[in-house]
Amino acid sequence: MFSYLLKRLFIFIPTLLAISLFTFIISINAPGDPVETMLNQNVGGDGSSGEKLTNEKTYQTKRHELGFDLPLFYFSFTNATFPDTLYKIPKKAHREMLQRLSYKYGKWKNVSDYYHSLQKLENKIVEIEINEESTLPLRKLKDAVNVLYTNYSEEKISTTIKNIELNILQNGLLKKNCENEFNNFINAYHHLLIDKAVANKYIPVIYWYGLNNQYHRWISKFIQGDFGISFQDKRPVSSKIGDALKWSMILSISSIIIAYFIAIPLGVKSAIDKGKPSEKLISTGLFLLYSLPNFWVATLLIQFLGGGGLNWFPTFGLGSLSEGAPFWDRFWETAYHLILPLFCLTYASFAFISRQMRGGMLDILELDYIRTAKAKGLKKRVVVWKHAFKNSLMPIITLFANIFPMAISGSFIIEIIFSIPGMGQLTLSAIYARDYPIVFTVLMFTAILTLIGNLVADILYAYIDPRISFTIKK
């Protein structure tokens, strides 16, 4: 048994690694620039060179602080057009533009010249002291440069260049100040177009980065229990998840307890009464309940018992009593708010568990030893509860494995519908806001809990049915 446990725990490791890799891949492919989200920067601004510099500086520090200036992974497997230092380019949008360009034209050196000349042009623009008549052209020029920073199609670039040449640089002040830089930029662009190496993208390359990379940094912190800080409000992820988990746990655990308390006796009873009309009614009812989508039931409840209809129950949040209110007042207020969500959570699992219980019981009641027990004159109740019950629990145990992950993610949709600040809301808003430290942590935790749940179920199997043994394998 012990060696079996050890073996199972050992198998956890590759599984968790795979899941962590998967979540990591999702997060780096997510659209949007996390550093920018966190700084909540207004890109562009109107400001002077000083402001731009400070902006850039805060961006760089933040990026460094979050570890986004590191390579992504231990190695990268790409084509020869991409350099090994691509990760050093700060902004995600710029990085994407440069990748596209070098993929298209094949020579990184030319692309990098192009980028640097564009940067020089931008720096020059910022330095210009504005006079009245060049305010508008200057703004247009800035916009044009921003367009160049994010576009990689030949057509778009050349029209933008033409636009700068013909419209904006007609302004004397601008022409005087940045004609040089602009010409350099155009030269770099032409060089890029002429000096191509298209076949480069078909040459595979592997770059080795070593341990100092984003994934390593994240996973080692995760193992040490540091889950990072939320991009949205800079609170530690663990405290945010802790707050949310409280509500999800309250909801899920109470619903599980209620469901089991109703479902097991009901399941047993309908198994004993098999064939009676009352039982048929109950079974059909259970099947229908089981098939009802719970988000539909939630919507209906809100419509008819909540705000839209009879207005018996609150349908939103957890009540408005402050922290200072007496405990019991707050308790009742919250309980009142939780009635509808709890109902929605409970009915489906309760219907499902009773159906399982019924099935398990029916299988057992057909067996010979039950007939023997009946034949020797034992009371029906004794036969059912003492002889059959324990053995009919097998299918229920399979379900037990899912209790752990359900405590985290079981009430996802219901929480969203009833605006309860639990894990569902937290995860959904984190996904919308690209707040990946939270998404990461939630996914990893649910995965770990699922694995643990499966293990616990296996152990319970062995406990209930001694015939199951993990030590002997044929």
Binding site: I11, P14, T15, I19, I302, G359, G410, L443
Partner: protein, 453 residues
Amino acid sequence: MNFIKSIVFRTKVKEEKALHLSNEREEFTGKENESYWRVVKKQFQKNKIAVWSLRIVYLFIIIAILADFLANEKPIAVKYNGNIYFPIFKEYVVDLGLSKWDKELVNVSWKELNYEWKILPLIPYLPKNIDFLNTSVSPFDEQQVISKKWKHWLGTDALGHDVLAGMIHGTRIALLVGIISMGIAALIGIFFGAIAGYYGDDQLKMSISSIILYSVGFVIALFYAFGARAYVLADALGNSFGNFLLELIISILLFLGILLVFQFFSFLLKKIPFLFQPITIPVDIIISRLIEVVVSIPRLFLIISIAAVVAKPSIFMVMMIIGLTTWTGIARFTRAELLRIRNLEYIEAAKALGYKEFRIIIKHALPNALSPILISIAFGIASAILIESTLSFIGIGVPAETITWGSLLAAARQDASAWWLAIFPGFAIFITVTIYNLIGEGLTDAMNPKLKQ
């Protein structure tokens, strides 16, 4: 979530049952001179509820196919300026690029033309049509319409979209979600399950040379088929889903082609005796771990996080994601069945006859593993439809302009008094999920020899 989970539990339990019953299958088909599938069919037909569920599925399929003729802004047939037109047919032809609209019919409002006569569809609205005069009307409200023909039988939403039209066209999406996502899941699941089950941990032997060649070939094929084409694929996805599918197929063909080349090399290398030492590969362990990884992430979380990352949401993307994440159930069934079948005598006979293993798996082993796969596909369709409607209900992954049952139901959240928005679309989801579950149950019972009378 709870509910979706329960379907997952249920398939697990079903899996055990299905295994159990398939073990008993041989004896019971052997006794009578009837083919196994005939018995199953007979048993299934005895189950009135399942038969009726199947009939409702047929009805839904008909509605889905005829959706354009049942609810459309264009008339089915008109006489206009002395000519007879069939605008809806015509639209199909135009969409296929085979014809063009006549000049006077381009950009016309079909509702306002003066026809000599016309045959209108049952519901004269498309889901996207907006009726400004009747916003948020219930079926029993006074509606400002020309005649009864134009009445909104199931009401409208806050913008004036006709609910019934939305539900008719939503049927198409619901059924497509079931078919396409389960099609993808079945392909992947049967493939992995068959390999894991047939070879187990001890049957797949490969020489060192081919292992090396295959792994090198795999990496290189991955590079040329997907790495070097990454931007082509991404741009195609930005373009349209059909385009993406085309490029994806090209990539996959490229991938397989490169692997074939490497297989040819491995054939050459076989001449070198040193490299031709066979090693056993534990495919079963590898694939079982893979399944465990996918299963241990909660499915809805997984789908939501992928769907939120996809740059351009589309309903087909959702179907693909559902398919790519729900294959594990089918893979488990197939694996368990093939683990049993591979030890049967007829497989040994096939091996002794010198058949290729590929042929044995496809032609001899898989057909006998079909019944549990079918059962899990039926339950899988139910859960796929449920997942899709959940996603559209919370507004993730499905673009706003696509009208599905879930998105119609979501409109009820904005308007707490619009009971018709809550009842009808939800009921459609409920019915569809229920009938697929009932068919699944019916199949399970039909394949259970214990009940045979």
